[in-house]
């Protein structure tokens, strides 16, 4: 989806509602690694947080955690679109600039 040169990184993270938790990032689609304002000079762009649903959460929803488990993830579609289309600023999606929107004509 992001092209062959893109690497993926998963690292431990923390959310109160998942255990364990992780963060998925891809190599920055603007600078490709060295660092730039888009990736905040780290070379990586975070795409989503995820994790296994904390059993207490399931319990609270009357779902037996011994029978069911869950995988949760949250990602911003704009971020992914940025990565796929090479757009640097998610505000552009909301600015209604025809010059951008036109390029997505089917």
């Amino acid at each position: 989806m992001f092209g062959e040169k893109t690497a993926i990184r998963m690292r431990p993270d923390y959310f109160p509602f998942t255990e364990p938790s992780a963060e998925l990032a891809v190599t920055c689609f603007v600078c490709g690694g060295p660092g730039c304002p888009v990736c905040k000079h780290t070379g990586w762009v975070e795409l989503m947080g995820c994790g296994m649903v904390n059993p207490v959460v399931l319990q609270n929803c009357d779902i037996d955690p011994d029978v069911y488990s869950g995988f949760a993830f949250g990602l911003g579609v704009e971020r992914v679109a940025n990565a796929v289309y090479g757009i640097k600023d998610i505000r552009q999606y909301y600015e209604n600039d025809i010059r951008l929107l036109e390029q997505f004509k089917r």
Binding site: R11, D13, Y14, T42
Partner: protein, 395 residues
Amino acid sequence: MKITYNWLKEFVKVDLPVRDLSVQLTLTGPEVASAKPVGISRENEDKIVLVKIGDINPHPNADNLRIANAQGHEGNYRIITNSKTVEKGDYVLVALPGAKLPNGMEIKAVELRGEKSEGMFLGKDSLNLEEKSTDVWRLGREEKKARSLLHEYSKEDHVLEVELTSNRSDCLSVIGMARETAAMVNKDLKTPEPKVTETTEEIPDIQIKDEDLCPRYSARILRDVLVTESPDWIKRKLELCGIRPINNIVDATNYVLLEYGHPMHSFDLDRLEGQKIIVRKASRDEVFRTLDGQDRALTDKMLVICDEKKAVALAGIMGGENSEILPTTRNILLESAYFEPVSIRTTSKKDGFKDRIFLSFRTHRRLGHHHHRPGPLRRDHPGEFSRREGLEDAR
């Protein structure tokens, strides 16, 4: 949270270069957001030198500039500066052409408004020793002191900025990060062994009125201390980690905070009425001034440290102006305690405290107060306290 690479290495023998260590730690859990080089690198050793300002005069064509003639060991230099504060006789650092500063800047000989400059006087920020300097770094007016100061601050090191998730408060200290590093690279954690070189028979008068909010309070009395400047090596470590050095007593507790992650506080014993400590909830509408000069309105939910008559500190958050260590302080009550984390958090939110100190009590939420060690062990942390008769390093 900032720690330094060299400080971390005091507790774990990791031979990974900074870059690799940062990447690996990030992959394991604690995110190393940045690793900034500080000090003077080997390549720059002969290009960043200590000089003494021989004379300094206004620039003929620029109001905000002055031209200085500076003398160093290897030669004399003509330097143009926009500094408002340097004077004849000051020792400063000059970066000569060819020097590459950590921020990427390369020094060249230039001409400014028709006058030549053979280099540049440096602010502490040019060596990443602080975020943003307001002026050129002055190292004093005595050569020996200036050289010794330079020797300490020029040491090559890196400041690691670590971003932690709220479940990892165990890493909120040098030793915490060292423990994580040791587990990661499969080496031993070198546990610190503080030496107590003085014994005391004096038992402080402590009364805990609220055991739920304060399960444990320990303290020690230190008599005949001399409040003075901390040694350069302590000041440097504090500054690099974003804490401003104040005096040897306050700096010692901050040093312990950075290193162990345990917050401690010093009270001027003679300013504690009754020379005692009472740990209790505040009364509604009790007013109290914290040592940042702000008046705080207390509620009956907040835990305060008090003397016989009044509140002297907001437990686990900030000390009061009424008991703070002054240059004339002679006797100290040193506190090492454990306070209930949720209460600390609630109280600090009420008044908008951003101090990182209360974050440390999160550690205790994880580890419980079993991890809390008695005050006396901490008190002799190297190089902290001085006696009236003279300076005496405990290390």
